[in-house]
Subunit: 237 residues, 2 copies
DNA sequence: CTAATAGTGTCTATAAGACAGTATGGT
DNA sequence: ACCATACTGTCTTATAGACACTATTAG
């Protein structure tokens, strides 16, 4: 910390990578920009930090406001800050980005404040404004890693869910197939990951099978032992 | 992203949590402030983001400049951003903080530019300015977690090191004792964690024992399987 | 010599993964 | 009837942790 007064003018924005799972694919919420620069192209929901507003507060506000999502996300955390001097052509802008996990929600309504907003599969995104493609990529990688060590996969599910639904979340986010039987035993063996509600689904699966037991998120904040992704040699080196 | 022009004036600073290990204790680099607010009290090295400067670049500059450290840290990464509206009494300041790991270095020289800087044990810090105590705590927790899944413990060691030195790093950062024999076997069994130089130490330990084989950091970016801390029930729930 | 350290061997408990098998319920 | 699904059982292999043991070197 040094002398005040001679700092360069900087603007701070807050951008949100909101992820959900739809149709067995990971989706991110993006909005269509109506102002320059990048007018007409897609971007993360976000905007300038309000006066007197905390960063996390601003992230929640931007997500609710600009996306038109009624429900709150099940989880939101800081992802990182992006400050390349050339990332915004207008002026120096530092973006503090947040990562949110939401269960599958109805399509955002288009409102007065709400630009065209929609869920897009992360592996088939249109070109994004600024460095938002990079931010999305970082968010997806963070989500993949978090599923290993935390029970946050449950944030993609509803209030109650079956073990198969939970497995589908892991398979979708990781992009791998998991052994159903072993996954089942593993999930139930990690203390505090899930707890049984006592109920079951109303019907069997779409193609048959017994009714599945229902669970809700447990009280664990960390999975111990963790649920590790199959090792990919190229990720390790 | 919305309308420009009506954003609140915000300053962006970059602060660095630089960690090292000295005398079997984890230390953080702090500097004495000579300007208000908090003049005379201790703070993290940091300062305003320069014009045209990237965030990581600013972090490296502040660390080198303000701390008087000659050598570069072995590792630096973004830790997080702190933007509580009341965190700086002067005006709205968002701090983007970085986390650095350094091997045990000589005491920083006091220079023209250099305020009084020094390494302090993280579990015995003087009161810190702003929310820097919180930032240090977050940095320490990040460091603890990173040792589990990444080979970053080697960033606390010199260019070559023994398995015992590496174990001491883990024990110090985690604040636990580890079984020497099992740790030895585990470290050597993780692919790419360390590689033998072929050499050994010149002498045995200070209190006897054979010469230890020397290793350097390997090419792994992730430890697989990870080196997990002994589970602490209170951390999990 | 004694004590401390480096490194290895071995045993046990636990966990991961492959695979099989049973019961249920949709079509 | 058929088949996908929800589990559960069992076997094999890998890993973690406890413990023991040998070899080496400082003092």
């Amino acid at each position: 910390m040094e002398d005040f007064g001679l700092y360069a003018p900087v603007a701070v924005t807050v951008d949100v990578v909101a992820l959900t799972i739809r149709d067995r694919r990971l989706h991110v919420l993006i909005v269509e920009r109506d102002a320059e620069p990048y007018a007409g192209s897609w971007a993360l929901p976000g905007g300038f930090l309000g006066p007197g507003e905390d960063l996390a507060e601003a992230a929640r506000r931007e997500l609710a406001e600009e996306s038109g999502l009624g429900a709150r996300p099940a989880h939101i955390e800081q992802l990182g800050s992006y400050g390349d001097p050339a990332r915004d052509p207008r002026m120096r802008v530092v973006s503090v980005s947040y990562l949110a996990f939401a269960p599958d929600l109805p399509d955002p309504r288009a409102g007065a404040d709400t630009a065209t907003a929609g869920w897009h599969a992360v592996d088939d995104l249109p070109p994004l404004a600024f460095d938002h493609a990079r931010i999305v990529a970082d968010g997806v990688e963070r989500a993949r890693a978090k599923l290993e060590y935390t029970p946050l996969a449950t944030a993609f599910a509803g209030a109650t869910f079956t073990v198969s639904e939970l497995r589908l979340i892991y398979e979708t986010v990781w992009g791998t197939r998991l052994h159903a039987g072993n996954f089942h035993r593993k999930v139930l063996s990690v203390p505090g990951f899930v707890e049984a509600t006592g109920g079951t689904t109303e019907t069997g699966g779409t193609r048959g099978g017994p009714r599945a037991r229902l669970y809700r998120a447990g009280d664990a904040r960390l999975l111990h032992p963790p649920l590790l992704r199959p090792a990919r040699e190229e990720a390790i080196r």
